[in-house]
Symmetry: C2
Subunit: 192 residues, 2 copies
DNA sequence: TATATAATGTTGTTTACACAACATGTGATG
DNA sequence: CATCACATGTTGTGTAAACAACATTATATA
């Protein structure tokens, strides 16, 4: 059901998944997730409904992949690698989450029922993986296991970013990231 | 190789042909037709080269269909039916050809080698068919066979429209059509 | 309660596409 | 002339998508 080096995958599969993701993206601009049926998605994608089930178990799986891929593409585009525990690496990750939320969730207030939680868990999980990957490639002494640090940090980042993004009179993202960094940085500060 | 009620055609076939036509359309905005290979077309369409040959014999066949479909869609959109020999029906046809040339051939001077002749024969042939179809559904006495009248008229329309379209200081299309109508109308005037 | 409507999943068969391989042709460069 | 690079067509085999059909579940409506 999953990735397998997106690049060397059958073009028909890539195209089909892309069509489904595009379809859902557009439908979400018109309707709530609850109002969107698999039928709707495949119709707009000019695909058969049975084909959908060959790729995803339900619309939530599609949404999950969509969010995940989009977020990773944003990181990729900005060359965010988390190659160390220096503040600048963390800064880039936080900024990416902030910008992603603004892009992807333009009407956060109207998207509370099923969409919000999905975005949340998916983004947090990706951030967690990015952090964990960074810790493993650049090991440092820490007050707790890398897993706990990564989990705590990723939730903190999302929580901060979400609060900022939902503020109608929010400050510029760069300014906010500096503030967030002061709060979040200490979580992964190495022992003296 | 051909249509078969576009609507009840396998979606995969419709999608493939649409992708190929889109691809060629975009490539023509960057290169000359001579510089475009089947390889280029299928690459941009994310299709296999062999698939191209399952649909078209060569890039000219693709171009032919592309022009034909686009022109017919323009007629469709304007509800041009040529339901009679009255001047207004002919006016609509001439106007459609004028607008199509302006849309489709923005840089006529740079497209002379292979592209121009193809556009030409394809559009003329479609106009001829539209006229012939109109004659058959609304028969009238004429000075010559419907075939000869239709052929002569279609070439005259294209010739006039092309001359107008290639004029950098051309008058508005509506004005030109009135003039063209005076020249072309007499071709299909019925006997007294 | 019955029943209509609509969505979800699943299955088997048919058709279209991907791909590698090969033959052929053509122009450029040594 | 050789040969390198590249484009055109074609073929056989494997895989993905289309489609109809069916069972299931849920939500209305009479």
């Amino acid at each position: 059901m999953q990735a397998q080096e997106c690049s060397k995958l059958d073009p028909r599969i890539r195209r089909t998944r892309h069509l489904l993701q595009d379809s859902l993206r557009h439908l979400l601009e018109e309707k709530e997730l609850e109002e969107i049926s698999v039928q709707d998605i495949t119709e707009r994608a000019t695909l058969n409904r049975a084909t959908f089930y060959a790729h995803y178990t339900d619309k939530f799986a599609l949404l999950e992949e969509m969010i995940r891929v989009n977020f990773l593409q944003l990181l990729e585009k900005r060359n965010v690698r988390f190659d160390g525990t220096c503040p600048s690496a963390l800064r880039a990750v936080i900024l990416a989450v902030c910008d992603f939320l603004v892009d992807f969730q333009p009407s956060i207030s109207t998207r509370q029922h099923q969409f919000g939680p999905f975005l949340q868990t998916t983004v947090i999980d990706q951030v967690r993986i990015v952090l964990l990957d960074g810790f493993q490639r650049h090991p440092v002494n820490m007050r707790a296991s890398a897993e706990v640090i990564a989990a705590t940090t990723s939730w903190a980042i999302f929580g901060a970013a979400r609060e900022w993004a939902s503020d109608s009179k929010r400050v510029p993202p760069e300014d906010f990231v500096s503030l967030a960094l002061e709060l979040i940085g200490p979580i992964l500060a190495t022992v003296a």
